[in-house]
């Protein structure tokens, strides 16, 4: 059985309720700026360590916001936030930042955005002349062609750190392993579930679950943004509660929770 309340589209009721609750909570916490306790995220903290390592070794940093196969989605936004933060650190330390772009037809749009973000960070740090657009080349709209060119760039330039956060498919292991081969510290993050295990095996640091999506807020240190992380925790608790309730009710042949979730 599915509940249908006009004019809500059938099957979207529970989604709408969750969305509105999340919207209300986020708006509340943004307004109040109550910063929750935020645990350290080693993979995000490692970005600074990686840039420091590159400074000591006098080698460049290579970073990518991923392939963005479906345009600028949540993962790509997170990848761009991290690329922007990396660019800021690189500009501050007079480091060269290599950012190979491509991977999908949609990544042409991401490329322009990424270039603007990186250039902005170099300008903000007063290192406008250090920004080189040729260090952010567009390699290919095809996944493996881009990955090969990415690896080729790593083999030629021998970066000290490889930061690959964003949409990463099968080519991710290829890139992270070549990074390991050239002696780079590999920091990765993806929301593509099948790849998380592969990246955990091949990277020095990996962002898992929503860590990557919260990275923008985490790095901004802005109370308004940090406060929104509390929404994620509350929504998680609500969903765990619904999960437990579902198990109990279903054990007594009651399908109320299933009906609600399907509605």
């Amino acid at each position: 059985m599915v509940l249908h309340i006009s004019p809500i589209v059938e099957g979207k009721l529970s989604g709408l309720i969750f969305f509105l609750v999340a919207l209300a909570l986020t708006a509340y916490y943004v307004r109040n700026k109550k910063v929750p306790y935020i645990r350290r995220v080693p993979a995000i903290d490692a970005i600074e360590e990686g840039v420091g390592r590159a400074t000591e070794l006098g080698k460049p940093v290579i970073a990518s916001p991923g392939m963005s196969p479906s345009g600028i989605g949540a993962s790509t936004v997170a990848g761009l936030s991290i690329l922007s933060y990396t660019a800021k650190l690189c500009a501050r330390n007079d480091l060269r930042l290599l950012a190979p772009m491509g991977g999908s037809a949609e990544s042409y749009t991401t490329m322009e955005l990424a270039r603007d973000l990186v250039e902005t960070q170099y300008k903000l740090e007063g290192k406008e002349a250090a920004f080189n657009i040729d260090d952010m080349p567009f390699f290919s709209g095809r996944q493996f062609a881009w990955a090969s060119a990415y690896c080729g760039m790593m083999l030629r330039e021998k970066p000290a750190t490889n930061i690959m956060v964003g949409v990463q498919y099968a080519s991710a292991v290829y890139i992270s392993e070549v990074g390991h081969e050239v002696g780079a510290m590999v920091i990765s993050g993806t929301t593509y579930l099948s790849n998380i295990a592969c990246l955990a095996a091949s990277s020095d640091y990996v962002m898992i679950g929503e860590e990557m999506l919260a990275a923008g807020a985490y790095l901004s240190r802005d109370p308004g943004q940090l406060a929104t992380i509390r929404t994620q925790d509350i929504m998680k608790m609500v969903l765990i509660g619904i999960l437990v309730l579902g198990v109990i009710t279903l054990s007594f042949a009651n399908e109320a929770v299933i009906t609600f979730l399907s509605s």
């Binding site: 589209v9 903000l124 290829y174 679950g209 999506l213």
Partner: protein, 219 residues
């Protein structure tokens, strides 16, 4: 300061477009609103189509510079330029179903992709070899779990160790599945909250202009 450079302008734009995309998703709306939603989606396709050319021209520029300066591997830049321009000229001139276009696709693009994809197995093995070093209880559990899965998946595994199959299926369908669901739920929540942060103008990383404008104002 021009209104086009203000943070509020971008926030209003994001909120308006989000509302026009969210409302038809959740509510039954008149056809006009669905048409507007489709128009937004078509706009994305058009912007992407123009962006393809921007990317292609950038790539061409980069390869030409490589050839002019005789950088290491410049010969490969010649190959890339010739092949990519050939694909464009033939594809636009005589169509994608043409024999020459299909030949280029099957002779160069597909084998290249397949080769790189095949190489992955070696990289996966080397990553696995590093990950499965037993130096703690967790890594021991991981290694033994992987061993069961390997025995089930390997061609002779189930003949050599028939007991491994049911254990591997249990690990995959119960333990690994539970962990996967945790990731799915947390990623879904993370994505929703990120979208809301964007709508509320809290995460303006996408609009790189904002910080630049802020710094100009400070100047």
């Amino acid at each position: 300061m021009s209104i086009l450079r203000r943070k509020e302008f971008f926030v209003v734009l994001i909120v308006l477009i989000s509302v026009f995309l969210y409302i038809p998703y959740f509510f039954e709306v008149p056809q006009a609103m669905t048409n507007l939603e489709n128009w937004f989606m078509d706009t994305i396709v058009i912007i992407a189509a123009f962006a393809v050319w921007v990317g292609f021209i950038t790539a061409t520029r980069r390869e030409v510079v490589r050839i002019q300066r005789r950088r290491k591997g410049w010969f490969y830049a010649v190959v890339i330029l010739v092949l990519s321009w050939a694909m464009v000229v033939i594809g636009l001139g005589i169509g994608k179903t043409n024999v020459i276009f299909e030949f280029l696709q099957w002779a160069f693009v597909i084998p290249g992709d397949a080769t790189i994809y095949a190489i992955l197995v070696f990289y996966l093995t080397s990553a696995g070899a590093r990950a499965f070093r037993v130096n703690s209880l967790e890594s021991a559990l991981l290694t033994f779990g992987a061993l069961f899965i390997l025995l089930k998946q390997a061609p002779l595994g189930e003949v050599l160790a028939p007991w491994a199959g049911p254990v591997a299926i249990y690990l995959q369908d119960t333990i690994a599945m539970a962990a996967t669901r945790v990731f799915s739920v947390s990623l879904a929540i993370g994505s929703v909250v990120l979208a809301i942060r964007l709508m509320l103008g809290q995460e303006m990383a996408l609009v790189g202009l904002v910080r630049r404008v802020a710094s100009r104002e400070e100047e």
